[in-house]
Amino acid sequence: MRWKETDYAGWGRVLRAHGQIARPEKLAALKAALAETPAPAIGNRRSYNDAPLNSGGRVIDMTRLDRILSFEPETGLLEAEAGIEIGEIARLFAPQGWLPTVMPGTGRATLGGCIAQDVHGKSHQQDGSFGQHVESVTLLQGERRVSASPTRNKALFRATMGGLGQTGVILSAKIRMTPCPGTMVRVTESRAENWDEFIALLDRSTAPYVVGWIDATARGAAMGRGILEEGELSATLEPWPKKARRVPLDAPSSALASPVVKLFNAAYYRRVPEEGRIRERPIADFFFPLDKIHDWNRLYGKRGFYQFQCVVPPGKVEALRAIMARIAESAMASPLAVLKRMGPGRAGMMSFPMGGYTLALDFPARKGVEALIRSLQQMVLEAGGRLYLAKDALAEGETIRAMYPEHGEWAAICDRADPARALETDLTRRLGLRSMT
């Protein structure tokens, strides 16, 4: 197996690694690579942080193991190799009447990645997390092939959903899809003039898919203003949108300077009329709005960016308001800011979701941002909330372990599955996740 020696990074590009990557195109090649060096598997590196990195070591890129293995048209049960992209599954099966039940904000995430981070989508309240729709998963633990499901190897299954790839190389999985009448989404957009109105709109919404864009630069009375998008699948059939445009170069750091973001946000807010509007949008546009621009992370320049995502319990709305206010005062956020409701659904011991509200924002890497994010993390901890391991690049291990009460049990299962700790990544080392205390 040829290993490529290279620099690589997660989506946020702040944390980087130098190491060797194998990219098998056949099952036999994967086994050969693992026999040579047991190493963590990575997908399209859509985690923002160091979850897909192994500095100085080796990783196995799974993106070429992307075959669909089986599909039942009556039940929507699909089995595929870990490297297939969620957006590709949607593109192929929506016209046949089925859609992955949970889809993250980018269609470029791989099936294996969605499992390793137990991702959530815009329907979390209704549908729960990705792993709750996994019927079974097949892992390679060294030479051994092991299957786990909610009824067989239960503990291993719960350690694998959201398990950061630490229980074995995710080879393939069977997922339950959801019926989908067409290829479009009927989207209702409403303005929320401030924080309280936004929370009230979110609480009132009964739509299956709900996502809020929040203007992270608005202060004072307008603090927390934004646009709520409520979607339901429509029966309209339209051709799938064409491939994405590309960002050819790293943007200069001034591209997302505070005045630019403020102007952009104001225009983006006013784009939706005061009385709101309803329109039909392609599934890919609604679920994966940023995929329309390939490599959009380059817009943040070569220094990269941080993403901060937290969830707080329903009773802690005031704490979240304080977090939002601090962000607005900082004038450091980018236009990409999302507020959603979250249900209690989670499939694994290290899954992010908890009932409440989740807030996600990008911050270009510049002076003061790290300190700001650290102070936000402290506020989340005090509110009894949680940080997302697909995003976090700055937390301390102690903070994270306090937020994930099943962590010790998870680490013990990982050690049985991977006693040599060969699957550790920069993330698990930074946070000391594989240690049991």
Partner: protein
């Protein structure tokens, strides 16, 4: 009735991308190669992506006895038959220098095997009066270079063969497309030094599709390789022999 496509060397990533385009168009696919377990996985993938049928067939470029069953299988399917050839092998030149007997394998994989297969298929295609042959060569065949001249020589032989085959089959309505990819992001080039402007297998497959629609004879893909290779071919031999490009 839908088209039948024979894909030779179907487990390569370029072949996979091309076969998937054909699968989504509802073609019947005969996926031929050496790794049967892998081919069966691919066949399932192709069926689930819309191929009317997809079958895994054993074929080895170095063993012509394996050719006839594949051709018979295509004949049995009825309708138009087309073939895309993605086989070839590229050991490092240093390995060949150490063991000259490797040359025969390279030539069989990249030239004589595919040529013999197409020679056997040609009468069938002529009889059906249509279809397309996609022969994937390489820009390496355009000029013998220090780094891989055995591979280049085999690909050059294949390109010349395809040009003759085009001359013959064109008279019967069969189109022959010679494809000369530059650097493509496959297992063959993964981690090699000196790669630049690397194209994805999906982009190459899409360009083959467009070239077929326009009935182009030779496709350099990505397109700028036509100009890169033009320059490389124009370098006078007395100078070229001193270069190591």
């Amino acid at each position: 009735m839908s088209e039948t496509w024979i894909i030779l060397g179907a487990t390569s990533s370029m072949a996979r991308a091309f076969a998937r385009l054909k699968a989504e168009q509802g073609a019947r696919l005969l996926l031929a190669g050496r790794d049967m377990a892998e081919l069966r996985r691919l066949a399932a993938d192709m069926r689930l992506r819309g191929a009317e049928e997809a079958e895994a067939l054993a074929l080895e470029a170095r063993n012509p006895a394996t050719f006839a069953p594949v051709i018979e299988r295509a004949e049995a399917a009825g309708g138009m038959i087309s073939a895309a050839i993605f086989i070839g092998s590229m050991p490092e030149q240093a390995a060949i220098d150490a063991d000259p007997s490797l040359i025969e394998g390279v030539v069989a994989d990249s030239f004589t095997g595919p040529a013999r297969f197409l020679q056997m298929l040609a009468p069938v295609m002529e009889a059906r009066g249509g279809g397309t042959v996609v022969g994937v060569g390489s820009v390496a065949g355009d000029r013998g270079r220090l780094g891989n001249y055995v591979y280049g020589a085999a690909k050059a032989g294949f390109a010349t063969y395809l040009s003759g085959l085009r001359n013959r089959l064109g008279r019967e309505g069969v189109h022959v497309l010679t494809v000369k990819p530059g650097f493509v992001d496959t297992a063959m080039t993964w981690g090699l030094e000196g790669m630049f402007l690397v194209a994805s297998p999906e982009a190459v497959a899409a360009s083959i599709e467009r070239a077929m629609a326009k009935r182009k004879n030779t496709l350099y893909t990505p397109f700028f390789w036509r100009w890169i290779m033009l320059i490389i071919r124009l370098i006078p031999e007395p100078l070229f022999k001193k270069l190591s490009i």
